[in-house]
């Protein structure tokens, strides 16, 4: 941004040329205003996107919880008095939880009403109670107040996403349920709390039980594989092509191909993964290993191109000086050129990684777009990644997944911003200008 227009024009005798100059300045100003307007439009779009996502999603970080008093009767939980956690863990916690809830509403009878009542709390509530008891085995024979998640519809209702003032037939919660819920709320048994489940559990079909841990871990494993493959291969390819390869028709052809690959739609890499990695090599479906390899192929051109650009930016005088001092070409590269080019290469790698983190299309073909409840523990366990999780939740019919979708986008954006920030910081910190 240089200040061209601020230089004071010299007075001119000729009226015509004064008018021409005036026109040129006008053009200049108009051009700047259009540029500014373009930036404003882009920023406005970004703001709209962020505002929509945050306003839809921030509620996912809090969850409605309901307090129930569960009585751990030894005769029911551990009839033989073994005290063995394995035996206790198999007790009928669903019955315990439902009885605890029913205790507040003794006059609720009839099958339908009881079913309606059970919907007040999440289907995951028995697991919460079970985990709480297994942690505190001395609770046996006592009654404890335990906070469990409210059912998804009541979570939405409590957050105002299901309106109260519409006819009963038009909402997912009926009048009876509303009155029960209000009764619990009036007794201080309903609270909005931080939603830890969202960060600690994997996917679920129940919105209130669903979390992003599985997807985050899956993304982590996938990106590790991508990094381990793409970075060394990319750097080696860039160094060889830039520093050692002779300039002939073959290297030109390779260069054209690499540039071309950078523009190939990512789904093509997925098809390649399906045909070669799954069908030919028999690697497991849905595994981060395969996803990582496919994404590595996708990011390679980005890394090679960025790597070559940063090698080119190292001035020839460095190489000449090294060679002049008697260094071999290999020493020149490894001791002088590569360290100077590395910040640029790392920046390229991080940007490539960020791209890989946001990718879903190639993963569709290799089975990573799947419903997976267990958090993956290794490179070959079935896994999904963050953007896939967003895609799956966006497609789910339950109302509760709307906020989850936006919240997952926020998490993904946070990771992307961190990575891009890291790239900028690396460049600022280590970049040298000549």
């Amino acid at each position: 941004m240089t200040d061209i227009a601020t230089t004071v024009p010299r007075p001119l005798a000729d009226a015509d040329s004064a008018a021409r100059i005036e026109r040129r300045y006008r053009q200049e100003r108009r051009f700047r205003r259009i540029g500014l307007a373009a930036i404003c439009v882009a920023l406005g779009m970004l703001a709209i996107m962020l505002i929509t996502i945050v306003s839809n999603g921030y509620t996912a970080f809090i969850a409605t919880e309901v307090a129930i008093d569960v009585t751990f009767d030894p005769a029911e939980v551990d009839p033989d008095g073994t005290g063995d956690p394995a035996v206790i863990g198999r007790a009928n916690f669903q019955g315990l939880t439902r009885n605890a809830l029913r205790a507040y509403f003794p006059d609720v009878s009839g099958r339908t009403d009881r079913r309606d009542l059970n919907k007040l709390i999440s289907v995951g509530a028995p697991s919460t109670v079970r985990a709480a008891l297994l942690e505190n085995l001395d609770w046996m024979g006592t009654t404890q107040t335990i906070w469990v998640k409210a059912g998804a519809d009541f979570d939405s209702f409590n957050k105002g996403q299901i309106p109260r003032d519409v006819p009963e037939s038009d909402r997912r919660v009926n009048d009876n349920q509303v009155s029960w819920f209000d009764q619990l709320a009036a007794n201080g048994r309903v609270e909005k709390r931080f939603n830890g489940t969202f960060f600690s559990s994997a996917d679920s079909r129940e919105p209130e039980q669903a979390g992003i841990r599985g997807a985050v871990v899956g993304s982590f494993f996938t990106l590790i594989v991508t990094l381990l493959l793409a970075f060394p291969v990319g750097v080696m390819a860039a160094v060889y092509l830039e520093e050692f390869a002779p300039k002939n028709r073959w290297t030109d052809l390779i260069e054209v191909n690499i540039n071309n690959l950078a523009a190939v739609p990512s789904i093509v890499f997925g098809l390649l993964g399906l045909a070669v990695l799954l069908n030919l090599f028999g690697l497991p479906r849905s595994a981060p290993l395969v996803g990582g390899i496919v994404l590595a192929l996708m990011t390679l051109p980005t890394i090679i191109i960025a790597g070559r650009a940063s090698l080119k930016a190292v001035p020839p005088s460095i190489r000449e000086a090294a060679l002049g001092m008697g260094a071999s070409p290999l020493q020149t590269v490894t001791h002088h050129v590569l360290p100077l080019a590395l910040p640029g290469m790392l920046t390229g790698t991080i940007i490539g990684m960020a791209q890989a983190l946001g990718e879903t299309a190639p993963l569709l073909m290799i089975g990573m777009v799947a419903f997976i409840v267990d958090v993956p523990g290794s490179f070959t366990d079935p896994a999904t990644v963050l953007p896939v999780q967003i895609f799956l939740w966006a497609d789910a019919p339950e109302r509760g997944f709307v906020e989850k979708t936006s919240a997952a986008i926020m998490v993904l954006l946070a990771f992307l911003i961190t990575m891009n920030l890291l790239a900028v910081l690396l460049r600022k910190r280590f970049e040298r200008r000549w």
Binding site: V166, L228, M236, I293, F371
Partner: protein, 338 residues
């Protein structure tokens, strides 16, 4: 040098791990229809939570894609179960049989396809014939086949509202679209006088107009729901479960005098509904642990019964007698013969 060794080492371990994985698998793998996906995943999660088996992995590949994967062979690299929102085709069945696969078919319930609009507008009542005239690419007018001339609903029949025809629906890749053209468009064709004489029969009725009155809104039904909410003049086509979940915002149109309600679809009165299936690979039972138990869980009253958890997810259960019969056949893994 070190980086090279690292890369080689990684590639080697990839090959080793791949070989090991091919030999054993302790997790059921399910592929198939995106319509059955919400139900299969609910059963899978419940199955994982209540038994000692691992939670099955469910992929949404579409009915056709699922059957293709399923029928490609016996062996742990192939899926064990596939979901379908239509019955297996005889060509698919043959492929399966040629590859040595014994199939058990399980019909799990029904799914209604609804035409719905925002609650802020009036409910629409129309016949399949009117629906066909509104959406077909070519319609018969005065004994000749012409490009669909109808702009407003009232152009079709004066009793319909005087508003622009604007329908959001799924793209041709979707199973919902397949079922819609088969059930509504084909059924509508038959109701239109003079259509059969002009060759509008069976699959000839499947062509939907492309002049902007029908908008392909993508595979995502939630997107259609949001658009309807914002645009009261528009109608959307999607599965019943989305109407069920958004009953505060949307209303289903009455088709041939029947409202798209749970009861009407379950009773078979609502005309635009289809059956949902899943198919089990007999050869994998006993090899991959838990398949038999998974089938039992899916066909238990607690899951697919009238008060089961699948009903909460929007599944419309089979009638009692059918459920009993299908359940028994499924649990004994009776092989399918076409």
């Amino acid at each position: 040098m070190r980086t090279k060794t690292l890369t080689l080492g990684l590639l080697a371990s990839v090959a080793v791990v791949g070989a090991a994985e091919a030999q054993s698998r302790d997790q059921i793998r399910i592929v198939g229809s995106s319509t059955v996906f919400p139900f299969a995943t609910a059963v899978a999660e419940n199955f994982g939570r209540t038994t000692d088996f691992k939670t099955p992995v469910v992929e949404s590949t579409g009915s056709g894609g699922g059957l293709k994967l399923f029928c490609s062979g016996v062996g742990l690299e192939h899926p064990d179960i596939t979901n379908a929102s239509r019955r297996i085709k005889s060509s698919e069945f043959e492929t399966c049989t040629q590859n040595g696969i014994t199939i058990t078919e399980v019909k799990v319930g029904f799914d209604g396809i609804v035409l719905a609009n925002s609650k802020s507008a009036d409910q629409m009542a129309l016949t399949k014939g009117q629906l066909f005239l509104a959406l077909a690419k070519e319609v018969p007018v005065d004994g000749a086949l012409v490009e669909n001339p109808y702009v407003n609903w009232s152009d079709i029949d004066p009793s319909l509202p005087n508003s622009k025809i604007e329908v959001l629906g799924p793209p041709p890749t979707s199973g919902t679209r397949d079922a819609f053209v088969e059930l509504a468009m084909e059924g509508g064709c038959d109701q239109v006088d003079g259509a059969a004489e002009l060759g509008l029969e069976d699959s000839a009725c499947h062509f939907i107009r492309e002049d902007g009155a029908f908008v392909e809104a993508g595979e995502n039904d939630n997107l259609i729901v949001q658009k309807l909410d914002a645009n009261p003049g528009a109608f959307g086509i999607f599965g019943f479960s989305f109407l069920d979940q958004n009953s505060d915002k949307l209303q289903g149109s009455n088709i041939d005098g029947v409202d798209p309600t749970f009861e009407n679809i379950a009773a078979g009165d609502y005309g635009v509904s289809r059956s949902l299936y899943f198919y089990v690979k007999g050869e994998h039972v006993g090899v991959v642990p838990g398949i038999q138990e998974f089938v039992n869980e899916f066909t238990s009253e607690g899951a697919w019964g009238e008060d089961g958890y699948l009903v909460d997810k929007g599944l419309i259960p089979l009638p009692d007698a059918d459920r009993q019969a299908v359940g028994n056949a499924a649990q004994s893994l009776a092989p399918l013969a076409l």
